[in-house]
């Protein structure tokens, strides 16, 4: 059962349809034009394949895992190199705490520090530590 309102709308749309159908391009014309386009453009843009969300998530997780592993291996290598630089490393033997020196100990070494390492002896010059005193001939002793 249709309402009078529906009938009115049907009448309106029928009138529009009749009007528009008087200017329909022929099927042959449209079909042939499409066929021509298909011939001249054989490589029609392929539809973009849709990646399922689960696969996309798995791929993203895989990428993150690989990046994490690479970063970790780089960090491990750097710390191992620092440790090797700062100690005498004997393979298989853990270094003793008494032989261990800080990797930055070299920075505390300044020029002339050996002069102040220990107090000079009485009546001796601090220069003697660096330049030994000349040996005097015995005969010339007063």
């Amino acid at each position: 059962m249709t309402l009078p309102e529906d009938d009115r709308l049907h009448t309106h749309f029928e009138s529009l349809r009749d009007d528009e159908r008087t200017h329909v391009p022929t099927f042959r014309e449209t079909w042939d034009a499409a066929a021509e386009r298909a011939r001249t453009t054989p490589h029609v843009r392929a539809p973009i394949p849709r990646i399922p969300p689960v696969l996309a998530l798995a791929a993203a997780a895989g990428v993150l895992l690989v990046v994490g592993l690479v970063l970790r291996s780089v960090r491990d290598r750097d710390s191992a190199r620092l440790f090797a630089d700062s100690t005498i490393h004997v393979p298989g033997v853990a270094p003793s705490i008494t032989t261990w020196t800080s990797p930055t100990a070299g920075l505390l070494r300044t020029s002339g520090s050996e002069l102040l390492a220990a107090p000079p002896a009485l009546h001796a010059s601090i220069v003697d530590r660096v330049v030994p005193a000349p040996v005097q001939p015995r005969g010339n002793t007063p």
């Binding site: 009115r8 528009e20 200017h23 391009p25 099927f27 079909w31």
Partner: protein, 177 residues
């Protein structure tokens, strides 16, 4: 109705498909016009592109619906895909309402064309979904269920758009009297 009989089997012979498309061509033209805001040039382009998709196998008939609803779905999708480029090229022609020129001296024709223009203008004021469902039901004689299939919405949603659209359209047409 013969149009609504689902074609059997997956896929169709090209000659068979061509015959079906030829039979539906006038209907397809009307739907292409509706999808392109009644712009004849765009409708021709959209219809041609839709046939191209069918010819090249980018759109395949799988026998789940009638040929008519399938073809309408392809036309709708094609028009939507190409609308992005058209919007750039033809900005500001959203409501193209080209109606045929009246024959000189034919008052009845003039009146009818005025009414058609009023209908097209009133339709342009509705939401796209409302416009589509009303066009499919009143112009192409599809059921609301078939219209839902073309529009890729649920039956409930199509019914809502239909009811609201019908009411809004009737009001708009009444206002113009």
């Amino acid at each position: 109705m013969q149009d609504n009989v689902p074609a059997t089997g997956r896929g169709m012979e090209r000659s068979q498909l061509e015959r079906e498309l030829e039979r539906l061509h006038a209907e397809s033209w009307g739907w292409a016009l509706a999808c392109c805001a009644r712009d004849r040039e765009l409708a021709e382009e959209a219809l041609q592109s839709a046939y191209l998709r069918i010819l090249t196998g980018r759109a395949r008939f799988d026998g789940r619906s009638s040929v008519k609803t399938w073809v309408f779905g392809v036309i709708r999708r094609t028009a939507q895909d190409e609308a992005r480029f058209w919007r750039v090229r033809h900005s500001g022609t959203e409501e193209a309402t080209e109606v045929a020129d009246p024959a000189p001296g034919a008052d009845a024709t003039v009146e009818r064309l005025d009414e058609n223009a009023a209908l097209v203008t009133a339709l342009a004021g509705l939401s796209p979904r409302q416009r589509e469902v009303l066009q499919l039901v009143f112009y192409h004689d599809l059921t609301i269920e078939e219209a839902a299939g073309v529009m890729h919405v649920s039956l409930g949603s199509a019914r809502t758009h239909y009811e609201r659209g019908k009411k809004a359209l009737a009001e708009r047409l009444e206002e113009r009297r």
